[in-house]
């Protein structure tokens, strides 16, 4: 088992993607730190023979993240991998953007990533080993036409990943990013009034295999990137969208 004796921190574990990540790592032997995880998820993880703890850190301050590291140290000793899974989507166009949405989208998706990567990266650097995986989105490159601040925050993470790959790469840590896309439910989440990308009923038609991705399939990529199998993968963006982004018309 690739993660025996290792501790993996999954943020936003109270989402479908967070749960799939937690269960994947639990199956591979990891101890789980579940950001905002619910009780039933803790039970599911424990049923797989893994240990779990729930944390509710303040992800927007260094102090909050440092307190989280101290808390985890007491239970599991250290963190071996950070799986940054914050993906809050607030629909807005640029023309009608409010200050509140600007702040909340950047805070939830980008500032939390910066704070956690910095603090947990420095913690892992003490051991000269560790992994950071950003579960990001194809919208770090492809515009949504429906949630501008979401894609802007994902654009920020793209560069954060590359900066971490250099800075922490010299300290024994690999940092990578998943461009997840066309996962179940995305067509509702991102439906646009002018971009045909998620035209309702057509998302699956755009995927060559004609079936949306699942959180489990994204979790499998995250498990690879967080494992020692990916020891020479650093600063990479792995697109996991079934080829959705490549298709732009409607052919047979």
């Amino acid at each position: 088992m690739r993660f025996s004796g290792k501790t993996v921190y999954v943020t936003q574990a109270d989402t479908a993607q967070g749960e799939a990540l937690a269960l994947r790592f639990a199956k591979e032997g990891a101890n789980l730190v579940l950001g905002f995880g619910k009780e039933d998820l803790v039970k599911k993880v424990e049923d797989l023979g893994a240990k779990a703890m729930v944390v509710q850190p303040d992800m927007l301050t260094y102090e909050g993240a440092e307190a989280l590291v101290e808390e985890v140290k007491k239970t599991f000793g250290r963190i071996d991998a950070l799986i940054f899974n914050n993906n809050n989507v607030v629909k807005t166009d640029l023309e009608h953007l409010t200050r509140e949405v600007f702040e909340s989208q950047l805070n939830d998706n980008a500032k939390a990533a910066f704070v956690l990567a910095r603090v947990i990266g420095l913690h892992m650097a003490e051991y000269h080993s560790g992994k950071i995986v950003f579960v990001s989105s194809i919208h770090c490159d492809k515009p949504t036409g429906s949630a501008v601040m979401y894609s802007i925050s994902k654009g920020c993470i793209n560069m954060l990943c590359k900066e971490c790959a250099l800075f922490f790469g010299r300290r024994g840590i690999q940092t990578n990013l998943i461009e997840a896309g066309a996962v179940e439910g995305d067509d509702e989440k991102f439906e646009s009034t002018f971009s045909p990308l998620y035209a309702m009923g057509y998302m699956e038609e755009r995927i060559p295999r004609r079936k949306a991705g699942t959180p489990e399939e994204i979790a499998a990529v995250a498990a690879f990137l967080a494992s020692d199998d990916a020891s020479f993968v650093n600063g990479a963006s792995v697109r996991a969208d079934g080829g959705f982004e490549l298709f732009y018309g409607f052919k047979a």
């Binding site: 640029l94 950047l106 420095l122 490159d141 515009p143 501008v148 793209n158 560069m159 900066e163 002018f194």
Partner: protein, 263 residues
């Protein structure tokens, strides 16, 4: 018949144009026949010098100085209105006002993280929203000055790179959203640009990085075309992107870096 790239009668706001790249952009716009609002935030004395210099090129009424902090939406909106009141129209915006702090990841003060996000990203967004009503009337254009660090990391200021990465998506979202108004949005990515004046950064280039011997740089220059960037390199690109000739160009990114990013 008008010469290509002629901007006679057009009006532009160039943020952060009291000095540096912004000043070079204004210089090019004015030479192409346009009128400009010169914007500064902190260094008004220097911006007044710039205003005089620009007026010497394009005449007394080619430029107008407006002091505003673009990270504050109310000030951005007021600058757009003042420009409209002064010149009677707005044909384009160049988003250029941005900061760099040069902290490494482990030493980055969180207040500087917030500052960079609010100026480099928030300021660009504020200005785009503030000018949009005027650009709808003229089917105008927006050009954002980004950096090669929207694509490759800095290794000296991670938050600067994050803001430029966010800008990459701001460009793309704005381009598809504003297309319905005939408003185009494009981007220029310079690398190192030699400006006549360094900003008030308390520790410019203080961090020693990998420093190979002089012979290395003599043999392998950082800029294949033989020189670092100049403000006008971005300026003439802005003139093109704002011109009628670029009417089918939107959401595009032009790297104006002397080919340096490819090394």
């Amino acid at each position: 018949m008008k010469a290509p790239f002629d901007l006679t009668g057009k009006v532009f706001i160039v943020t952060g144009s009291g000095k540096g790249i912004g000043k070079g952009i204004v210089r090019c716009f004015v030479k192409a026949g346009a009128k400009c609002t010169i914007n500064c935030n902190s260094n008004r004395a220097m911006a007044e010098e710039t205003l005089k210099e620009i007026q010497a090129i394009g005449g007394e009424d080619c430029a107008f100085l407006y002091q505003a902090d673009v990270s504050d939406y109310a000030q951005a909106e007021a600058m757009a209105k003042a420009t409209y009141d002064h010149f009677g129209r707005i044909d384009g915006l160049v988003n250029n006002a941005a900061l760099q702090k040069q902290w490494m990841l482990d030493e980055y003060p969180i207040k500087d993280y917030d500052l960079l996000m609010h100026v480099n990203l928030g300021g660009y967004i504020n200005m785009m929203r503030a000018v949009l009503p005027y650009l709808k009337e003229t089917r105008g254009s927006i050009t954002c000055i980004s950096s090669v660090h929207g694509k490759r990391p800095t290794d000296f200021d991670p938050v600067y790179a994050m803001t430029k990465g966010g800008m990459h998506m701001l460009l793309r979202e704005a381009a598809i959203e504003f297309a319905k108004y005939g408003v185009r949005v494009n981007m220029i990515m310079p690398a190192g640009v030699k400006i006549e004046f360094k900003t008030g950064n308390p520790r410019p280039f203080q961090k020693p990085r990998l420093t190979p011997p002089r012979e290395y740089y003599e043999k392998y220059p950082m800029y294949p075309l033989g020189r670092h960037g100049l403000p006008e390199d971005s300026g003439w690109a802005c003139v093109y992107l704002a011109s009628q000739e670029a009417e089918h160009i939107s959401g595009a990114c032009l790297r104006a870096d002397g080919c340096s990013m490819l090394l």
